[in-house]
C-alpha cells in the first residue's frame, strides 16, 4: 500500500458535498411531491391555511420529509398568526403609567378574546407581560433579526442563539432563508411576514426563559441593524442603559437626540465584546440600503416593542423625567420582566402535596429566591451548589415540650434484667414476652424446633432475646437486647443484660438505660451461692452506682427446688441484707419466687400446690407497681449512641439510644461528640413508631443525614451545637472503691462509652457520710472507702459533671462514682 493511494481515497467527502449542496434530482422530485402534498393537506384541513412553498419545504427539511408532522406544524403556526392578527387589531390603546417603584405596575391590557382558540397563542401568553405595552412609537426601534434554529429540528434548544460561532454552512443557509423569507414577505404582506417571524417565536420565548439578560444582550450584539428612529427623538432605553454602563459618559439626559459618544464609534463597536447598537445617521442609511434583505420582526419582537397595528400611545412620562434611573429600567424592567427562579406553579402544588403527606421532599436549591433575582443572588446560588448533595430536612418547629405534655401516652419505663450468668434472665424475659403475646406462637415454635435441633431445647425462650448466632450457639447472652411489651397501663422496655463477667461492659451499657432493675437469682443449690459471689453482687452494685433506686428480685428456677419456702426465705434474707448494704432502701426491694421455664408467677399465678405459701404479686404485677420516673426533659440535649447501623435503604445511617436529657425533633441539627460533626435528623422513631419528636427517657432511633458514618461510634454523645458537651482528657471524680485503688490503668465506662485511661492521682479519701477529707494523698485506697481521684485518658472523651462513671480493671469493677 502506498501512501498515494491512501491519500486518493476521498469519495467520502464527495458524497458529503453532494448530500448538502447539490441534492440529486431524485430527492428534488421527492421534495416537490411532498411539498404539494403538504400544501394540499393544509388547504383541505379544518382551519384552512395557506403557506408558501419555501415554508413547506423548510418544514419538510426539518421534519425529515415527514408530511404529517410538517402539516401539523404549519397549521399550528398559521392558526396562531391568524389569531394574533385578530388580537392585535382588537387591542385598544392602553394607558401608560409612570414607573415609580422598582416593581413597575404595568397596565394590564384589556382582555381580548379572540375566538376561543384551541391553539396556543403567543400574544395571549404574553398578554400580561410588562413589555407588551411598550409605546408604539418605539416599535421600530428594535428590529430583531429572526433567529433561525440552526442545525437541528425546529424549536431545538437555542443554546448558541446568535452568540456562538456560526459555521459557514449555517451562515449560508441562514442568508438564503432570510432572502426567501423577505421575498415571501413582499408577496403576501401581513400573513407571510408574521409567518416567518412566528417561526422564531417559540424559540425566542424559550431563550427568554432564564437568562433574559444574556439572550437580549446577545441579540443586541448580533443585530447590527438595531436602530432608533430619529423622528421620535428618543434614545432607545436599551442603548441608553448600555451606553451609560459602558462608556459612563452618558448622563441622565436621555432625551437628547443622537448623543455624541455613540455617534462615531466604528472601532469601538468592533472592539467591544457586545457591539453598540448603531444609533447614528450613518447606520440609519445603512439600514435603508439593507432594507430589502431585512427580515420582518418576529412575533416575539413585535410583542416586545409593540405592533404597527397597535394604536399609538402617549409618550411615557418616565422617558422625559430627568431623574430616571436608567440602569434600573434597563436591568429590571426590560430585561427581567419575569424570572423563573421561584418554584413553578407545578412545583408549588407538588410541594404542598408532599408536605401534606408528611413527605420530606428535597427542596429546590433556589427555593428562597425572591421574585427579583439580582446578580448577587445568582452568585450566591452558585456558591450553594456543591458536589455533595445536601439533604435539607424541613423542621416542623414544634414546641416539643408542649407536644409532649399534650400527648396522651401510656407511661413508658425501661428496666434492666441483671444477674449472674445462667440465672435464667433471657429465658425469664422470653417467657414474659411469650405470655404477654408480645411474640407470636409461630416464632416461638420455630425457636423451639431449632433449639432442640442443636440440643439446647431449654434455651428456646431465651432465643427470643438472644438473636446473635454466637449467642445461640453458646447459649450465652453476649450483648444487651431490647424488647418491649405493653400492659394495660405501661409500655415496658426490657433491657436484657448479659450475665457473663466478660460482658459486664455491655451490661453497664444496658443498665445506664434503665429506670429500675430486675435482679434474677438462680435459686438452685450451689448456683445461688456462686452467683452471689459473682455477678449477682457486681451487677447489683453497678446498677446502684448508676443511680437505679428500685430493684425487683426474681428468685428464679424455684421449680428446681420444689418451691421450697425455706430456700426462698434464705435467699431473700441473704440478698436483702446485701442489697441494703449496697445502698438500696428496703422499701424498694421486692422478692418474687418464680420459674421462667414453666412460667409460674411470671404473668400468671402458679397453680402448683407447693406455691400456695406465696400470696404476693406476680412479676408483671411488681413491674406495674413501679412508680414512673421523671426525666430531665428541659435540660440541654444529651444522648449516648447505643448503636450505629444501616436502618434500611431509605435510611442508610441510623443511630439508636435513649435520650438522657432534653428533646429533639425531625429536622434538628445535632452535634456528635467527640468528633464534633453535625448531622441532620432526617426522621426518627420512638419505641419503633415513627414520630416527629422525642423527649428524654424515650428510646429512639434517629435516621441521620449529612454526616459520614465514620464520625459516629457507639458511646459517642449527641448534643446541640448551642449547648455542646465538652471533650475532656482528664477529670476529677468522687468514687466508691470496690477494690484497692492506686495509680494504675483502668477502663472507664459510661453507658456505651468505654475507653482506656489511668488513675493518675489519688487526691484524698473522704468520709462516707459527711464527705469531709480524711486523708490527703493516700498511697492506696482501700475497698469500701470513698475517695477523690484524678483520671486521665489518652483520647478526649465527652464527659461532663454530674455523670456517673464506672472504673474497671482486669475484668473487675474497681470503683464507681460521680464526675465532679
Amino acid at each position: 500500500m502506498s501512501r498515494h493511494r491512501v491519500k486518493a481515497v476521498s469519495y467520502d467527502e464527495d458524497e458529503y458535498d453532494d448530500g448538502y449542496y447539490s441534492p440529486d434530482p431524485e430527492e428534488q422530485e421527492f421534495l416537490e411531491q411532498c411539498t404539494t402534498e403538504v400544501l394540499n393537506q393544509l388547504r383541505a384541513g379544518d382551519p384552512s391555511v395557506t403557506a408558501t412553498r419555501s415554508e413547506v419545504q423548510d418544514a419538510l427539511y426539518h421534519y425529515y420529509d415527514d408530511i404529517e408532522k410538517s402539516v401539523n406544524y404549519l397549521r399550528g403556526k398559521k392558526v396562531k398568526e391568524l389569531q394574533k392578527k385578530q388580537a392585535a387589531a382588537a387591542a385598544p390603546p392602553a394607558a401608560l403609567k409612570t414607573k415609580g417603584t422598582s416593581v413597575p405596575v404595568y397596565p394590564e391590557p384589556p382582555l381580548i378574546s379572540p375566538a376561543p382558540a384551541a391553539h396556543f397563542s403567543a400574544a395571549d401568553f404574553f398578554r400580561d407581560a410588562p413589555w407588551l405595552n411598550i409605546p408604539s412609537h418605539r416599535k421600530a426601534e428594535i428590529l430583531v433579526e429572526p433567529l433561525y434554529p440552526r442545525l437541528g429540528l425546529l424549536g431545538g434548544a437555542p443554546e448558541s442563539a446568535g452568540g456562538g460561532k456560526v459555521s459557514k454552512l449555517a451562515a449560508l443557509a441562514a442568508a438564503r432563508r432570510k432572502k426567501e423569507g423577505d421575498k415571501a414577505a413582499a408577496a403576501t404582506p401581513p400573513a407571510a411576514t408574521d409567518s416567518t417571524a412566528a417561526e422564531t417565536a417559540p424559540k425566542a420565548a424559550s431563550t427568554e426563559s432564564k437568562g433574559a439578560t444574556l439572550s437580549l444582550r446577545e441579540r443586541l450584539a448580533v443585530s447590527g441593524k438595531l436602530q432608533k428612529s430619529p423622528s421620535d427623538g428618543h434614545q432607545s432605553l436599551r442603548s441608553l442603559g448600555r451606553g451609560s454602563r459602558q462608556g459612563g459618559s452618558l448622563s441622565g439626559k436621555k432625551t437628547s437626540t443622537e448623543p455624541e459618544p455613540q455617534e462615531s464609534p466604528k472601532q469601538e463597536e468592533a472592539a467591544s465584546v457586545t457591539p453598540e447598537p448603531k444609533t447614528s445617521g450613518t447606520s440609519e442609511k445603512e439600514d435603508h440600503t439593507a432594507l430589502n434583505i431585512r427580515a420582518p420582526p418576529s412575533t416575539f419582537a413585535s410583542a416586545m416593542v409593540g405592533d404597527s397595528t397597535r394604536p399609538k400611545m402617549t409618550e411615557p412620562s418616565h422617558l422625559s423625567a430627568n431623574t430616571l434611573d436608567l440602569i434600573r429600567i434597563y436591568g429590571q424592567d426590560l430585561t427581567e420582566p419575569f424570572d423563573f427562579a421561584g418554584p413553578s406553579p407545578d412545583d408549588v402544588v407538588i410541594n404542598a402535596q408532599s408536605s401534606a403527606k408528611g413527605f420530606k421532599s428535597k427542596q429546590p436549591a433556589s427555593k428562597s429566591a425572591g421574585d427579583k433575582k439580582t446578580q448577587a443572588d445568582l452568585a450566591g446560588g452558585m456558591n450553594n451548589l456543591s458536589v455533595e448533595e445536601k439533604v435539607n430536612v424541613k423542621s416542623k418547629n414544634l414546641d416539643v415540650l408542649s407536644e409532649y405534655k399534650k400527648a396522651e401516652r401510656k407511661r413508658a419505663m425501661n428496666f434492666a434484667v441483671i444477674g449472674h450468668v445462667d440465672a435464667g434472665k433471657s429465658t425469664l424475659m422470653g417467657r414474659l414476652l411469650a405470655d404477654l403475646k408480645a411474640i407470636d406462637q409461630r416464632t416461638l415454635d420455630k425457636y423451639k424446633r431449632e433449639a432442640e435441633k442443636i440440643g439446647k431445647g431449654s434455651f428456646a425462650l431465651a432465643w427470643v432475646l438472644d438473636q446473635g448466632a454466637e449467642e445461640r450457639a453458646r447459649g450465652v447472652t453476649i450483648d444487651i437486647a431490647t424488647n418491649k411489651f405493653e400492659t394495660e397501663k405501661t409500655v415496658f422496655t426490657i433491657v436484657d443484660a448479659p450475665g457473663h463477667r466478660d460482658f459486664v461492659p455491655n451490661m453497664i451499657a444496658g443498665a445506664s438505660q434503665a429506670d429500675f432493675a430486675v435482679l434474677v437469682i438462680d435459686s438452685s443449690i450451689g448456683n445461688f451461692e456462686s452467683g452471689l459471689k459473682g455477678q449477682t453482687k457486681e451487677h447489683a452494685l453497678l446498677v446502684r452506682s448508676m443511680g437505679v433506686q428500685r430493684i425487683i428480685v426474681a428468685v428464679n428456677k424455684m421449680d428446681s427446688v420444689q418451691w421450697d419456702k425455706e430456700r426462698f426465705d434464705e435467699i431473700e434474707q441473704q440478698v436483702s441484707s446485701f442489697l441494703t448494704t449496697a445502698g438500696f432502701q428496703p422499701k424498694n426491694i421486692n422478692f418474687v419466687p418464680c420459674s421462667g421455664i414453666s412460667g409460674d408467677n411470671v404473668t400468671r399465678r402458679s397453680d402448683d400446690p407447693n406455691v400456695s405459701w406465696y400470696q404476693g404479686r406476680t412479676l408483671v404485677d411488681e413491674l406495674e407497681a413501679t412508680e414512673p420516673y421523671s426525666h430531665a426533659v428541659d435540660k440541654p440535649l444529651r444522648m449516648t449512641i447505643g448503636d450505629v447501623f444501616r436502618g434500611s435503604v431509605q435510611n442508610p445511617l441510623s443511630i439508636s439510644g435513649r435520650l438522657d436529657a432534653g428533646s429533639l425533633q425531625v429536622g434538628d441539627q445535632i452535634l456528635t461528640m467527640p468528633s464534633g460533626e453535625t448531622a441532620t435528623i432526617r426522621s426518627l422513631e420512638v419505641d419503633g413508631e415513627p414520630n416527629d419528636w422525642a423527649v428524654a427517657g424515650q428510646n429512639v432511633v434517629l435516621n441521620l443525614a449529612n454526616i459520614d458514618p465514620i464520625h459516629l461510634r457507639s458511646g459517642d454523645v449527641i448534643c446541640r451545637a448551642s449547648a455542646p458537651i465538652a471533650n475532656v482528657t482528664s477529670f476529677t471524680c468522687k468514687v466508691l472503691a470496690f477494690d484497692h485503688l492506686l495509680p494504675s490503668m483502668v477502663d472507664i465506662h459510661r453507658g456505651r462509652l468505654h475507653v482506656p485511661g489511668r488513675i493518675s492521682r489519688l487526691l484524698s479519701t473522704l468520709d462516707k457520710q459527711s464527705g469531709a477529707i480524711i486523708k490527703k494523698k493516700p498511697k492506696i485506697v482501700a475497698p469500701g472507702t470513698v475517695a477523690r481521684i484524678v483520671v486521665e485518658m489518652d483520647q478526649a472523651v465527652p464527659l461532663e459533671a454530674p455523670t456517673r462513671i464506672v472504673l474497671r480493671a482486669g475484668g473487675e469493677t474497681v470503683a464507681a462514682g460521680l464526675l465532679e
Partner: protein, 408 residues
C-alpha cells in the same frame, strides 16, 4: 548487638564499638547514648561547594563523622534512631562545629565514647550504663522470646510485638461493628469484616509470606501469636483464620499451630499484662525479662494491697525508705524504670544512678530496672517511675507537706 571493641577505662571513661544486628538493638542504643557523649559513625552528608565563579555544586559524600550528641530521636514503630549533634572531627568536607544528624543503621558499627569531664559535665560509664551494655550485648544469647499479640474486643484490635525489652504497638484496628438488633444480621456481617481487616493487618505486620508456594519451600520459624479478648472474640478470630486457611489462603496453615487463644479483660493494650500472666502464655514466654518484670510488679502491688507498709512508691518516698535502710538485704527490692535514666538532665540521672548504686552496693538490696516500653514498666511509670519492696514496714507520714513536685 555485637560488641566489637571495648575500651572502658577504670575511671569510667572510654569507648565502645558496637554493631547493631536487630531492630531491637536500636532501642538499646537509644538507652546507651546520652546527650554529651561522643558518637562516631559513618554518615552520608550532602556537601555544597562554591566555585570561584560563584556556581555551586552539591554532592553526597560518605564520611565518618564524630559528633557530640545533643539529642536523640527514637521511633519505636520502625526502630530507627536519629542522633543529632555537633561535629567534632575535621574532615575534608566538614568543619568542626557543624551540625549533623547521624542515622544509625543495622550492621554498621558505631563507636560510643563517654567522658568523665573534670567539671563533672559527663557521667562516663556508670554502673547503669555498664549494665545496659551487658543487656544489649547479651552474651548468653538467650533472647529468642518474641511473640505477636493481638489484644481485641468487638471492633477493636491492638496488634503488638512483644520483644525482650519492649512491646511495640504495631497497629490498632478500629471498626464500628453494628450491635445485635432485633432481626438484624448486621452484627455477624460486621464481625466478619472486622476479622478480615484484622487478619490482613496482622499478616502484613508480621511480614508473613502468604504466597501458596511458601507452604512447602521455606521453613522459617513462626513466632507465637497470642490472641486475647474478653468473651469469644479471640476464639472467633481463630476460627476465622482457620476457615481462611482452609479456603483462600493455604499459607496460613503454617500460622495455625502457633496461635494461642488467651482470655483478657478488655481489648485495650493494658490488658496485655493479664495476657502475659496467663498460664498458656507463660509456657511460651517462660522466664523472659518481661515475665520476670510482670511478676515483680504483681508482687509489689500485692504488698501494697495488703497494707503492710512494706511497699512504697514515688521518688521521694522511695528515697526516704532507702535512707532509713529499708531497701536492704533480705528482700529489699528497688524497682526503677529506665525512663529515669534517659533523663536529659545529668543531675537527674546522677540522682537515680547513685540511688541504684547505693541500694546494690551499700545496702545489699536487689535492683530491677524495668523497661518503660513494656507493660509492667508503664504500670511503674504510673506510680512515678520508682517503687520499692521494703524489708520492714515504715510509716509514711512524712511526705504529706512537700509532695507537690513528686507528681511528675
Amino acid at each position: 548487638m555485637r560488641l566489637v571493641k571495648n575500651k572502658i577505662e577504670l575511671n569510667g571513661s572510654g569507648t565502645v564499638t558496637l554493631c547493631p544486628e536487630e531492630p531491637e538493638d536500636m532501642w538499646h542504643a537509644y538507652n546507651l547514648i546520652r546527650p554529651g557523649d561522643l558518637l562516631r559513625a559513618s554518615a552520608i552528608r550532602r556537601v555544597t561547594t562554591t566555585q570561584d565563579t560563584g556556581s555551586t555544586s552539591s554532592a553526597r559524600v560518605h564520611l565518618t563523622l564524630e559528633i557530640r550528641v545533643k539529642s536523640l530521636d527514637f521511633d519505636p514503630q520502625s526502630s530507627q534512631l536519629h542522633v543529632s549533634g555537633q561535629i567534632v572531627n575535621e574532615t575534608a568536607h566538614t568543619k568542626v562545629g557543624q551540625h549533623h544528624t547521624l542515622d544509625l543503621e543495622l550492621n554498621r558499627n558505631f563507636t560510643l565514647e563517654k567522658e568523665i569531664g573534670s567539671d563533672g559535665e559527663g557521667v562516663g560509664w556508670d554502673s547503669i550504663a555498664v549494665q545496659m551494655l551487658k543487656d544489649a550485648v547479651d552474651e548468653s544469647g538467650n533472647r529468642r522470646a518474641e511473640a505477636v499479640a493481638v489484644v481485641m474486643q468487638e471492633g477493636l484490635a491492638h496488634i503488638c510485638f512483644i520483644g525482650q525489652f519492649q512491646t511495640i504497638l504495631k497497629q490498632k484496628v478500629e471498626m464500628s461493628v453494628p450491635r445485635k438488633r432485633q432481626g438484624g444480621g448486621d452484627h455477624d456481617k460486621g464481625m466478619n469484616k472486622f476479622f478480615q481487616v484484622t487478619l490482613d493487618t496482622l499478616v502484613r505486620q508480621m511480614e508473613f509470606n502468604t504466597s501458596a508456594t511458601s507452604l512447602s519451600t521455606n521453613n522459617e520459624t513462626v513466632r507465637p501469636v497470642l490472641l486475647a479478648s474478653p468473651g469469644f472474640v479471640a476464639a472467633g478470630f481463630q476460627k476465622y483464620i482457620q476457615s481462611v486457611a482452609n479456603t483462600s489462603m493455604p499459607a496460613l496453615k503454617r500460622l495455625l499451630p502457633s496461635i494461642v487463644v488467651v482470655h483478657s479483660a478488655s481489648g485495650y493494650l493494658h490488658s496485655l499484662a493479664e495476657v502475659l500472666q496467663s498460664p498458656a502464655v507463660k509456657t511460651i514466654l517462660a522466664d523472659t525479662k518481661y515475665a520476670r518484670e510482670t511478676r515483680l510488679m504483681d508482687d509489689f502491688l500485692d504488698q501494697l494491697r495488703k497494707e503492710t507498709n512494706k511497699a512504697t512508691y514515688g521518688p521521694r518516698e522511695v528515697e526516704s525508705a532507702v535512707d532509713q535502710g529499708a531497701v536492704g538485704r533480705g528482700g529489699g527490692v528497688l524497682i526503677i524504670s529506665n525512663r529515669l535514666f534517659r533523663s536529659q538532665d545529668v543531675a537527674e540521672r546522677k540522682r537515680w544512678v547513685s540511688l541504684v548504686d547505693r541500694v546494690r552496693d551499700v545496702e545489699g538490696g536487689e535492683v530491677r530496672v524495668l523497661s518503660s516500653d513494656h507493660e509492667s514498666g508503664r504500670r511503674l511509670d504510673g506510680l512515678g517511675g520508682v517503687a520499692a519492696l521494703l524489708t520492714f514496714p515504715i510509716v509514711d507520714d512524712a511526705g504529706d507537706e512537700d509532695d507537690d513536685d513528686d507528681s511528675q
